[in-house]
Amino acid sequence: MRFLSWAYLVALFAFILLPVVVLVVFSFQDGRLPVPPFRGATLKWYAEILSDRDLMAALGNSLLVAIGSSTVALLLGFMAASGLARVALPGTLAMRALLIAPMTVSYLIIALGLLQMFNAAGVGPSLLTTGIGHVVINLPLCFSILYAAMGEHQKNAMRAARDLGAGEWQVLALVSAPMLAPALAAAFFLSVTFSWDEFIIAFLLTRFDVTLTVEIWSMLRSGLSPKTNAIGSLVFLVSVAITVTLEFTLFRKARK
Protein backbone atom coordinates (compact mmCIF):
# COMPACT_ATOMS: atom_id res chain seq x y z
CA MET A 1 0.00 0.00 0.00
CA ARG A 2 2.73 2.40 1.00
CA PHE A 3 4.85 1.58 -2.04
CA LEU A 4 1.82 1.82 -4.30
CA SER A 5 1.01 5.26 -2.91
CA TRP A 6 4.49 6.59 -3.60
CA ALA A 7 4.63 5.03 -7.06
CA TYR A 8 1.31 6.66 -7.91
CA LEU A 9 2.45 10.00 -6.56
CA VAL A 10 5.63 9.92 -8.63
CA ALA A 11 3.80 8.83 -11.79
CA LEU A 12 1.20 11.60 -11.50
CA PHE A 13 3.82 14.24 -10.68
CA ALA A 14 5.73 13.15 -13.77
CA PHE A 15 2.58 13.48 -15.90
CA ILE A 16 1.70 16.88 -14.42
CA LEU A 17 5.18 18.39 -14.61
CA LEU A 18 6.34 16.80 -17.90
CA PRO A 19 5.06 19.46 -20.34
CA VAL A 20 6.36 22.34 -18.24
CA VAL A 21 9.79 20.75 -17.85
CA VAL A 22 9.99 20.06 -21.59
CA LEU A 23 8.88 23.62 -22.34
CA VAL A 24 11.54 25.17 -20.12
CA VAL A 25 14.39 22.77 -20.98
CA PHE A 26 14.00 23.18 -24.73
CA SER A 27 13.80 26.96 -24.43
CA PHE A 28 17.59 26.64 -23.95
CA GLN A 29 17.94 24.43 -27.05
CA ASP A 30 20.97 25.28 -29.18
CA GLY A 31 19.26 24.44 -32.45
CA ARG A 32 16.25 25.35 -34.54
CA LEU A 33 13.80 22.74 -33.18
CA PRO A 34 12.64 22.33 -29.57
CA VAL A 35 12.62 18.50 -29.75
CA PRO A 36 15.16 15.83 -28.67
CA PRO A 37 18.07 15.44 -28.84
CA PHE A 38 19.05 18.33 -26.57
CA ARG A 39 21.97 20.02 -28.32
CA GLY A 40 23.31 22.10 -25.49
CA ALA A 41 22.30 25.22 -23.62
CA THR A 42 22.08 28.69 -25.06
CA LEU A 43 20.36 31.90 -24.04
CA LYS A 44 20.01 33.16 -27.59
CA TRP A 45 16.24 32.56 -27.78
CA TYR A 46 15.74 34.67 -24.69
CA ALA A 47 17.89 37.39 -26.22
CA GLU A 48 15.74 37.12 -29.33
CA ILE A 49 12.42 37.55 -27.52
CA LEU A 50 13.76 40.44 -25.48
CA SER A 51 14.74 42.25 -28.67
CA ASP A 52 11.46 41.39 -30.42
CA ARG A 53 9.49 44.66 -30.51
CA ASP A 54 6.06 43.06 -31.12
CA LEU A 55 6.49 40.59 -28.28
CA MET A 56 7.67 43.21 -25.82
CA ALA A 57 4.80 45.53 -26.79
CA ALA A 58 2.37 42.64 -26.29
CA LEU A 59 3.93 41.92 -22.91
CA GLY A 60 3.42 45.53 -21.88
CA ASN A 61 -0.19 45.39 -23.12
CA SER A 62 -0.82 42.22 -21.11
CA LEU A 63 0.49 43.81 -17.94
CA LEU A 64 -1.55 46.94 -18.56
CA VAL A 65 -4.77 45.01 -19.14
CA ALA A 66 -4.12 42.65 -16.22
CA ILE A 67 -3.41 45.35 -13.68
CA GLY A 68 -6.04 47.77 -14.96
CA SER A 69 -8.87 45.23 -15.17
CA SER A 70 -7.94 43.66 -11.82
CA THR A 71 -7.99 47.05 -10.12
CA VAL A 72 -11.45 47.82 -11.45
CA ALA A 73 -12.72 44.32 -10.61
CA LEU A 74 -11.29 44.55 -7.10
CA LEU A 75 -12.82 47.97 -6.48
CA LEU A 76 -16.27 46.99 -7.75
CA GLY A 77 -16.13 43.64 -5.96
CA PHE A 78 -15.01 45.21 -2.69
CA MET A 79 -17.77 47.82 -2.75
CA ALA A 80 -20.43 45.25 -3.63
CA ALA A 81 -19.24 42.83 -0.93
CA SER A 82 -19.22 45.60 1.71
CA GLY A 83 -22.70 46.66 0.66
CA LEU A 84 -24.17 43.18 0.71
CA ALA A 85 -22.39 42.04 3.87
CA ARG A 86 -23.66 44.81 6.12
CA VAL A 87 -27.42 44.64 5.75
CA ALA A 88 -30.05 42.29 4.41
CA LEU A 89 -31.28 44.21 1.39
CA PRO A 90 -34.39 43.06 -0.38
CA GLY A 91 -33.22 40.70 -3.10
CA THR A 92 -29.77 40.06 -1.60
CA LEU A 93 -29.82 36.49 -2.83
CA ALA A 94 -30.76 37.51 -6.37
CA MET A 95 -28.05 40.17 -6.44
CA ARG A 96 -25.40 37.71 -5.26
CA ALA A 97 -26.53 35.21 -7.89
CA LEU A 98 -26.31 37.86 -10.61
CA LEU A 99 -22.84 38.95 -9.53
CA ILE A 100 -21.52 35.37 -9.48
CA ALA A 101 -23.29 34.28 -12.68
CA PRO A 102 -20.47 35.11 -15.15
CA MET A 103 -18.32 32.51 -13.39
CA THR A 104 -20.42 29.70 -14.85
CA VAL A 105 -20.34 30.96 -18.43
CA SER A 106 -17.67 30.01 -20.94
CA TYR A 107 -15.22 32.80 -21.76
CA LEU A 108 -16.02 32.23 -25.42
CA ILE A 109 -19.67 33.14 -24.87
CA ILE A 110 -18.77 36.24 -22.84
CA ALA A 111 -16.34 37.29 -25.57
CA LEU A 112 -18.81 36.71 -28.40
CA GLY A 113 -21.57 38.61 -26.61
CA LEU A 114 -19.33 41.59 -25.94
CA LEU A 115 -17.97 41.54 -29.49
CA GLN A 116 -21.45 41.73 -30.98
CA MET A 117 -22.59 44.41 -28.57
CA PHE A 118 -19.52 46.56 -29.25
CA ASN A 119 -19.98 46.00 -32.98
CA ALA A 120 -23.58 47.17 -32.77
CA ALA A 121 -22.52 50.22 -30.74
CA GLY A 122 -19.79 51.01 -33.27
CA VAL A 123 -17.00 50.51 -30.73
CA GLY A 124 -13.93 48.93 -32.30
CA PRO A 125 -11.90 46.17 -30.61
CA SER A 126 -9.03 47.46 -28.45
CA LEU A 127 -7.17 46.89 -25.21
CA LEU A 128 -9.96 48.81 -23.47
CA THR A 129 -12.68 46.42 -24.64
CA THR A 130 -10.47 43.48 -23.65
CA GLY A 131 -10.03 45.03 -20.21
CA ILE A 132 -13.81 45.39 -19.89
CA GLY A 133 -14.16 41.69 -20.72
CA HIS A 134 -11.55 40.77 -18.13
CA VAL A 135 -13.38 42.77 -15.48
CA VAL A 136 -16.50 40.74 -16.31
CA ILE A 137 -14.69 37.44 -15.63
CA ASN A 138 -12.79 38.69 -12.55
CA LEU A 139 -15.56 40.62 -10.79
CA PRO A 140 -17.36 37.42 -9.61
CA LEU A 141 -14.04 36.09 -8.32
CA CYS A 142 -13.17 39.25 -6.36
CA PHE A 143 -16.70 39.58 -5.07
CA SER A 144 -16.99 36.01 -3.79
CA ILE A 145 -13.53 35.99 -2.16
CA LEU A 146 -14.20 39.28 -0.36
CA TYR A 147 -17.79 38.42 0.53
CA ALA A 148 -16.62 35.16 2.13
CA ALA A 149 -13.94 37.05 4.08
CA MET A 150 -16.38 39.54 5.61
CA GLY A 151 -17.62 38.30 8.96
CA GLU A 152 -19.76 39.66 11.77
CA HIS A 153 -16.82 41.42 13.47
CA GLN A 154 -16.23 43.26 10.20
CA LYS A 155 -19.76 44.59 10.26
CA ASN A 156 -19.42 45.67 13.93
CA ALA A 157 -16.13 47.46 13.31
CA MET A 158 -17.69 49.35 10.41
CA ARG A 159 -20.62 50.39 12.60
CA ALA A 160 -18.31 51.49 15.38
CA ALA A 161 -16.32 53.60 12.93
CA ARG A 162 -19.47 55.23 11.64
CA ASP A 163 -20.67 55.94 15.20
CA LEU A 164 -17.37 57.67 15.84
CA GLY A 165 -18.06 59.95 12.93
CA ALA A 166 -16.22 58.36 10.02
CA GLY A 167 -17.65 59.08 6.59
CA GLU A 168 -18.65 56.26 4.25
CA TRP A 169 -15.41 56.32 2.26
CA GLN A 170 -13.32 56.63 5.42
CA VAL A 171 -14.98 53.49 6.79
CA LEU A 172 -14.15 51.58 3.61
CA ALA A 173 -10.62 52.87 3.19
CA LEU A 174 -9.45 53.10 6.81
CA VAL A 175 -11.34 50.27 8.55
CA SER A 176 -12.61 47.72 6.07
CA ALA A 177 -9.70 47.57 3.64
CA PRO A 178 -6.92 47.09 6.24
CA MET A 179 -8.94 44.38 7.99
CA LEU A 180 -9.39 42.56 4.70
CA ALA A 181 -5.87 43.14 3.38
CA PRO A 182 -4.99 39.44 2.88
CA ALA A 183 -8.26 38.70 1.08
CA LEU A 184 -7.86 41.83 -1.04
CA ALA A 185 -4.34 40.77 -2.01
CA ALA A 186 -5.50 37.25 -2.82
CA ALA A 187 -8.37 38.51 -4.98
CA PHE A 188 -6.13 41.00 -6.79
CA PHE A 189 -3.33 38.55 -7.57
CA LEU A 190 -5.74 35.84 -8.69
CA SER A 191 -7.40 38.34 -11.02
CA VAL A 192 -4.06 39.42 -12.41
CA THR A 193 -3.15 35.78 -13.10
CA PHE A 194 -6.46 35.04 -14.83
CA SER A 195 -6.24 38.14 -16.97
CA TRP A 196 -2.55 37.56 -17.78
CA ASP A 197 -3.27 33.98 -18.94
CA GLU A 198 -6.55 34.63 -20.71
CA PHE A 199 -6.71 34.14 -24.48
CA ILE A 200 -10.11 33.95 -26.14
CA ILE A 201 -11.55 37.26 -24.88
CA ALA A 202 -8.32 39.03 -25.78
CA PHE A 203 -8.29 37.29 -29.17
CA LEU A 204 -11.80 38.41 -30.13
CA LEU A 205 -11.68 41.87 -28.54
CA THR A 206 -8.30 43.20 -29.68
CA ARG A 207 -7.19 44.15 -33.15
CA PHE A 208 -3.92 46.07 -33.57
CA ASP A 209 -2.56 46.19 -30.02
CA VAL A 210 -2.71 42.59 -28.83
CA THR A 211 -1.91 40.87 -25.54
CA LEU A 212 0.89 38.37 -25.07
CA THR A 213 -1.23 35.20 -25.33
CA VAL A 214 -2.65 36.43 -28.65
CA GLU A 215 0.87 37.17 -29.91
CA ILE A 216 1.99 33.68 -28.85
CA TRP A 217 -1.01 32.23 -30.66
CA SER A 218 0.10 33.84 -33.91
CA MET A 219 3.65 32.53 -33.34
CA LEU A 220 2.24 29.00 -33.07
CA ARG A 221 1.08 29.11 -36.67
CA SER A 222 4.65 29.06 -37.88
CA GLY A 223 5.26 25.76 -36.10
CA LEU A 224 7.44 24.69 -33.18
CA SER A 225 10.36 26.92 -32.27
CA PRO A 226 12.60 27.33 -29.21
CA LYS A 227 11.65 31.00 -29.38
CA THR A 228 8.05 30.10 -28.55
CA ASN A 229 9.41 27.94 -25.71
CA ALA A 230 11.31 30.90 -24.37
CA ILE A 231 8.33 33.27 -24.34
CA GLY A 232 6.13 30.48 -22.98
CA SER A 233 8.59 29.88 -20.15
CA LEU A 234 8.58 33.58 -19.40
CA VAL A 235 4.77 33.67 -19.23
CA PHE A 236 4.86 30.60 -16.99
CA LEU A 237 7.47 32.21 -14.74
CA VAL A 238 5.34 35.32 -14.23
CA SER A 239 2.29 33.21 -13.35
CA VAL A 240 4.31 31.13 -10.89
CA ALA A 241 5.82 34.24 -9.32
CA ILE A 242 2.33 35.63 -8.76
CA THR A 243 1.13 32.31 -7.32
CA VAL A 244 4.05 32.12 -4.92
CA THR A 245 3.37 35.70 -3.81
CA LEU A 246 -0.23 34.70 -3.28
CA GLU A 247 0.81 31.64 -1.28
CA PHE A 248 3.00 33.95 0.80
CA THR A 249 0.23 36.48 1.51
CA LEU A 250 -2.20 33.70 2.43
CA PHE A 251 0.45 32.10 4.61
CA ARG A 252 0.85 35.35 6.52
CA LYS A 253 -2.86 35.46 7.12
CA ALA A 254 -2.85 31.85 8.34
CA ARG A 255 -0.02 32.55 10.78
CA LYS A 256 -1.72 35.56 12.37
Binding site: S5, F15, V35, L84, S106, I110
Partner: protein, 284 residues
Amino acid sequence: MGIEAIEKRQGAALVLPALLWTVAFFVLPFAAMVWISLGHLDGREMVPGPDLGNYLRIFTEPALTRGIWVSLQITLIVTVISVALAWPLAWIIATRVPVRWRRLALLLAVLPFWTSYVVRSYSWALVLGQKGVVMTALLGLGILDAPVQIMATRAATVIGFVHFFVMLLTLTIYSNLVQLSPNYARAAEDLGASRFQVIRLVILPLTLPGVMTGAFLTFVLCIGDYITPQILGGNNELTLPQLIMLQLGRRGDYPMASALSVVLMALVTLAYAACARWLKMERV
Protein backbone atom coordinates in the same frame (compact mmCIF):
# COMPACT_ATOMS: atom_id res chain seq x y z
CA MET B 1 -34.50 57.94 9.55
CA GLY B 2 -33.20 54.97 11.59
CA ILE B 3 -29.73 53.54 11.39
CA GLU B 4 -31.07 50.46 9.58
CA ALA B 5 -32.62 52.55 6.85
CA ILE B 6 -29.43 54.57 6.38
CA GLU B 7 -27.35 51.40 6.24
CA LYS B 8 -29.71 49.92 3.70
CA ARG B 9 -29.48 52.95 1.46
CA GLN B 10 -25.70 53.04 1.69
CA GLY B 11 -25.49 49.29 1.14
CA ALA B 12 -27.55 49.58 -2.02
CA ALA B 13 -25.36 52.46 -3.25
CA LEU B 14 -22.25 50.30 -2.79
CA VAL B 15 -23.67 47.32 -4.66
CA LEU B 16 -25.03 49.38 -7.51
CA PRO B 17 -21.81 49.91 -9.58
CA ALA B 18 -21.01 46.18 -9.66
CA LEU B 19 -24.61 45.35 -10.59
CA LEU B 20 -24.63 47.96 -13.35
CA TRP B 21 -21.35 46.62 -14.71
CA THR B 22 -22.66 43.06 -14.74
CA VAL B 23 -25.88 44.09 -16.44
CA ALA B 24 -24.15 46.29 -19.03
CA PHE B 25 -21.31 43.94 -19.97
CA PHE B 26 -22.74 40.50 -19.20
CA VAL B 27 -26.55 40.40 -19.20
CA LEU B 28 -27.02 42.85 -22.07
CA PRO B 29 -24.48 41.22 -24.42
CA PHE B 30 -25.98 37.85 -23.66
CA ALA B 31 -29.49 39.11 -24.42
CA ALA B 32 -28.17 40.66 -27.63
CA MET B 33 -26.58 37.34 -28.55
CA VAL B 34 -29.86 35.46 -28.05
CA TRP B 35 -31.64 38.04 -30.23
CA ILE B 36 -29.01 37.84 -32.99
CA SER B 37 -29.18 34.03 -32.90
CA LEU B 38 -32.82 34.36 -33.97
CA GLY B 39 -31.86 36.18 -37.16
CA HIS B 40 -29.98 34.81 -40.15
CA LEU B 41 -27.40 35.75 -42.72
CA ASP B 42 -28.51 36.58 -46.27
CA GLY B 43 -25.40 36.97 -48.36
CA ARG B 44 -23.47 39.38 -46.18
CA GLU B 45 -26.52 41.08 -44.73
CA MET B 46 -27.85 40.24 -41.30
CA VAL B 47 -31.63 39.75 -41.40
CA PRO B 48 -33.21 40.15 -37.97
CA GLY B 49 -35.67 37.47 -36.92
CA PRO B 50 -37.19 36.15 -34.92
CA ASP B 51 -36.95 32.80 -36.66
CA LEU B 52 -35.65 29.48 -35.45
CA GLY B 53 -33.83 28.66 -38.68
CA ASN B 54 -30.37 28.49 -37.10
CA TYR B 55 -31.50 26.12 -34.39
CA LEU B 56 -33.26 23.95 -36.92
CA ARG B 57 -30.04 23.76 -38.92
CA ILE B 58 -27.98 22.91 -35.81
CA PHE B 59 -30.12 19.87 -35.15
CA THR B 60 -30.48 18.74 -38.76
CA GLU B 61 -27.14 19.46 -40.46
CA PRO B 62 -24.79 16.54 -39.68
CA ALA B 63 -21.67 18.78 -39.54
CA LEU B 64 -23.22 20.89 -36.79
CA THR B 65 -24.97 18.14 -34.86
CA ARG B 66 -21.75 16.18 -34.87
CA GLY B 67 -19.95 19.06 -33.19
CA ILE B 68 -22.31 18.82 -30.22
CA TRP B 69 -21.73 15.07 -29.95
CA VAL B 70 -17.97 15.37 -30.27
CA SER B 71 -17.92 18.03 -27.54
CA LEU B 72 -20.13 16.02 -25.22
CA GLN B 73 -18.12 12.84 -25.76
CA ILE B 74 -14.76 14.51 -25.16
CA THR B 75 -16.05 16.37 -22.10
CA LEU B 76 -17.50 13.18 -20.60
CA ILE B 77 -14.35 11.13 -21.23
CA VAL B 78 -12.16 13.90 -19.81
CA THR B 79 -14.32 14.34 -16.70
CA VAL B 80 -14.36 10.61 -15.89
CA ILE B 81 -10.61 10.08 -16.43
CA SER B 82 -9.72 13.25 -14.51
CA VAL B 83 -11.81 12.31 -11.46
CA ALA B 84 -10.37 8.77 -11.51
CA LEU B 85 -6.79 10.10 -11.61
CA ALA B 86 -7.23 13.06 -9.26
CA TRP B 87 -9.02 11.34 -6.39
CA PRO B 88 -6.15 8.99 -5.41
CA LEU B 89 -3.67 11.85 -5.85
CA ALA B 90 -5.61 14.16 -3.54
CA TRP B 91 -6.07 11.32 -1.05
CA ILE B 92 -2.37 10.42 -1.02
CA ILE B 93 -1.34 14.05 -0.52
CA ALA B 94 -3.93 14.57 2.22
CA THR B 95 -3.27 11.36 4.16
CA ARG B 96 0.02 9.73 3.13
CA VAL B 97 2.41 12.63 2.65
CA PRO B 98 4.01 13.83 5.93
CA VAL B 99 2.37 17.03 7.18
CA ARG B 100 5.40 19.25 6.69
CA TRP B 101 5.69 18.29 3.00
CA ARG B 102 1.97 18.51 2.32
CA ARG B 103 1.80 22.13 1.18
CA LEU B 104 4.83 21.69 -1.04
CA ALA B 105 3.37 18.51 -2.56
CA LEU B 106 0.11 20.30 -3.29
CA LEU B 107 1.92 23.31 -4.74
CA LEU B 108 3.95 21.04 -7.04
CA ALA B 109 0.88 19.04 -8.04
CA VAL B 110 -0.89 22.14 -9.32
CA LEU B 111 2.08 24.24 -10.47
CA PRO B 112 1.30 24.13 -14.21
CA PHE B 113 -2.32 25.01 -13.35
CA TRP B 114 -1.19 28.59 -13.42
CA THR B 115 0.20 28.50 -16.96
CA SER B 116 -1.78 30.16 -19.70
CA TYR B 117 -3.84 27.56 -21.55
CA VAL B 118 -2.24 28.60 -24.80
CA VAL B 119 1.24 27.86 -23.44
CA ARG B 120 0.07 24.62 -21.81
CA SER B 121 -1.41 23.32 -25.06
CA TYR B 122 1.73 24.29 -26.95
CA SER B 123 3.82 22.36 -24.40
CA TRP B 124 1.76 19.25 -25.01
CA ALA B 125 2.16 19.70 -28.75
CA LEU B 126 5.93 19.63 -28.11
CA VAL B 127 5.70 16.51 -25.96
CA LEU B 128 3.30 14.52 -28.13
CA GLY B 129 4.66 15.35 -31.60
CA GLN B 130 6.20 12.77 -33.93
CA LYS B 131 9.67 13.87 -32.83
CA GLY B 132 8.62 14.76 -29.30
CA VAL B 133 9.93 13.47 -26.00
CA VAL B 134 7.34 10.73 -25.56
CA MET B 135 7.76 9.24 -29.02
CA THR B 136 11.56 9.47 -28.82
CA ALA B 137 11.50 7.66 -25.49
CA LEU B 138 9.10 4.95 -26.63
CA LEU B 139 11.12 4.29 -29.80
CA GLY B 140 14.41 4.44 -27.91
CA LEU B 141 13.25 1.91 -25.32
CA GLY B 142 12.06 -0.39 -28.08
CA ILE B 143 8.44 -0.29 -26.91
CA LEU B 144 7.38 0.95 -30.32
CA ASP B 145 8.88 0.07 -33.69
CA ALA B 146 7.46 3.00 -35.61
CA PRO B 147 6.12 6.37 -34.48
CA VAL B 148 2.39 6.51 -33.76
CA GLN B 149 0.33 9.55 -34.65
CA ILE B 150 -0.97 11.21 -31.46
CA MET B 151 -1.04 14.87 -32.43
CA ALA B 152 -4.11 16.00 -34.36
CA THR B 153 -6.18 13.17 -32.92
CA ARG B 154 -8.78 13.08 -30.20
CA ALA B 155 -6.26 11.37 -27.90
CA ALA B 156 -4.08 14.49 -27.89
CA THR B 157 -7.05 16.71 -27.01
CA VAL B 158 -8.05 14.36 -24.19
CA ILE B 159 -4.49 14.20 -22.78
CA GLY B 160 -4.18 17.98 -22.84
CA PHE B 161 -7.53 18.40 -21.10
CA VAL B 162 -6.96 15.64 -18.52
CA HIS B 163 -3.65 17.23 -17.55
CA PHE B 164 -5.37 20.49 -16.62
CA PHE B 165 -8.45 19.04 -14.98
CA VAL B 166 -6.51 16.54 -12.84
CA MET B 167 -4.93 19.59 -11.23
CA LEU B 168 -8.26 21.38 -10.80
CA LEU B 169 -9.95 18.31 -9.31
CA THR B 170 -7.00 17.58 -7.04
CA LEU B 171 -7.52 21.06 -5.58
CA THR B 172 -11.27 20.69 -5.00
CA ILE B 173 -11.05 17.10 -3.69
CA TYR B 174 -8.06 17.88 -1.48
CA SER B 175 -9.80 20.84 0.15
CA ASN B 176 -12.77 18.55 0.78
CA LEU B 177 -10.58 15.76 2.23
CA VAL B 178 -8.69 17.93 4.71
CA GLN B 179 -11.98 19.19 6.14
CA LEU B 180 -13.06 15.65 7.09
CA SER B 181 -12.54 14.69 10.68
CA PRO B 182 -10.22 11.66 11.05
CA ASN B 183 -12.80 10.25 13.46
CA TYR B 184 -14.93 9.00 10.58
CA ALA B 185 -12.21 6.65 9.41
CA ARG B 186 -11.37 5.63 12.98
CA ALA B 187 -14.98 4.84 13.79
CA ALA B 188 -15.32 2.72 10.66
CA GLU B 189 -12.11 0.86 11.45
CA ASP B 190 -13.27 0.22 15.01
CA LEU B 191 -16.45 -1.25 13.62
CA GLY B 192 -14.36 -3.71 11.60
CA ALA B 193 -14.13 -2.14 8.16
CA SER B 194 -11.04 -2.98 6.11
CA ARG B 195 -8.88 -0.19 4.76
CA PHE B 196 -10.46 -0.31 1.32
CA GLN B 197 -13.93 -0.48 2.80
CA VAL B 198 -13.18 2.67 4.79
CA ILE B 199 -12.19 4.48 1.60
CA ARG B 200 -15.00 3.11 -0.56
CA LEU B 201 -17.88 3.29 1.92
CA VAL B 202 -16.94 6.22 4.17
CA ILE B 203 -14.37 8.63 2.72
CA LEU B 204 -15.44 8.47 -0.94
CA PRO B 205 -19.11 9.40 -0.29
CA LEU B 206 -18.02 12.19 2.05
CA THR B 207 -15.92 13.76 -0.72
CA LEU B 208 -18.85 13.86 -3.13
CA PRO B 209 -19.27 17.68 -2.78
CA GLY B 210 -15.61 18.22 -3.73
CA VAL B 211 -15.85 15.77 -6.61
CA MET B 212 -19.07 17.28 -7.95
CA THR B 213 -17.81 20.87 -7.68
CA GLY B 214 -14.67 19.86 -9.57
CA ALA B 215 -16.59 17.78 -12.09
CA PHE B 216 -18.98 20.65 -12.80
CA LEU B 217 -16.11 23.11 -13.30
CA THR B 218 -14.43 20.54 -15.53
CA PHE B 219 -17.57 20.23 -17.60
CA VAL B 220 -18.00 24.00 -17.99
CA LEU B 221 -14.38 24.77 -18.80
CA CYS B 222 -13.85 21.70 -20.99
CA ILE B 223 -16.91 22.04 -23.20
CA GLY B 224 -16.28 25.76 -23.73
CA ASP B 225 -12.57 25.59 -24.53
CA TYR B 226 -11.44 26.43 -28.05
CA ILE B 227 -7.67 26.35 -27.59
CA THR B 228 -6.93 22.78 -26.51
CA PRO B 229 -8.88 21.04 -29.30
CA GLN B 230 -7.63 23.58 -31.85
CA ILE B 231 -3.93 23.20 -31.01
CA LEU B 232 -3.86 19.50 -30.09
CA GLY B 233 -6.84 17.95 -31.85
CA GLY B 234 -6.49 19.76 -35.15
CA ASN B 235 -9.30 20.01 -37.67
CA ASN B 236 -10.21 16.34 -38.13
CA GLU B 237 -13.19 16.55 -35.84
CA LEU B 238 -14.53 19.88 -34.69
CA THR B 239 -15.82 20.63 -31.22
CA LEU B 240 -18.60 23.11 -30.53
CA PRO B 241 -16.23 26.04 -29.72
CA GLN B 242 -14.23 25.29 -32.88
CA LEU B 243 -17.46 25.40 -34.90
CA ILE B 244 -18.36 28.73 -33.28
CA MET B 245 -14.98 30.22 -34.20
CA LEU B 246 -15.30 28.79 -37.71
CA GLN B 247 -18.61 30.63 -38.21
CA LEU B 248 -16.99 33.89 -37.12
CA GLY B 249 -13.91 33.48 -39.25
CA ARG B 250 -15.04 32.15 -42.59
CA ARG B 251 -18.27 33.95 -43.33
CA GLY B 252 -18.77 36.28 -40.42
CA ASP B 253 -21.96 34.33 -39.69
CA TYR B 254 -22.72 35.92 -36.34
CA PRO B 255 -26.28 34.62 -36.12
CA MET B 256 -25.11 31.01 -36.44
CA ALA B 257 -22.18 31.54 -34.05
CA SER B 258 -24.66 33.02 -31.55
CA ALA B 259 -27.10 30.15 -31.94
CA LEU B 260 -24.30 27.62 -31.33
CA SER B 261 -23.25 29.63 -28.26
CA VAL B 262 -26.79 29.53 -26.92
CA VAL B 263 -26.76 25.74 -27.36
CA LEU B 264 -23.42 25.60 -25.52
CA MET B 265 -24.92 27.71 -22.75
CA ALA B 266 -27.94 25.40 -22.57
CA LEU B 267 -25.67 22.35 -22.16
CA VAL B 268 -23.84 24.04 -19.28
CA THR B 269 -27.15 24.97 -17.64
CA LEU B 270 -28.29 21.34 -17.90
CA ALA B 271 -25.05 20.20 -16.27
CA TYR B 272 -25.57 22.74 -13.51
CA ALA B 273 -29.11 21.51 -12.89
CA ALA B 274 -27.75 17.96 -12.65
CA CYS B 275 -25.03 18.85 -10.12
CA ALA B 276 -26.78 21.73 -8.32
CA ARG B 277 -27.55 19.96 -5.08
CA TRP B 278 -23.88 19.21 -4.44
CA LEU B 279 -22.51 22.58 -5.47
CA LYS B 280 -21.54 25.43 -3.24
CA MET B 281 -20.35 27.94 -5.77
CA GLU B 282 -19.44 30.59 -3.17
CA ARG B 283 -16.75 28.30 -1.86
CA VAL B 284 -14.88 27.96 -5.12
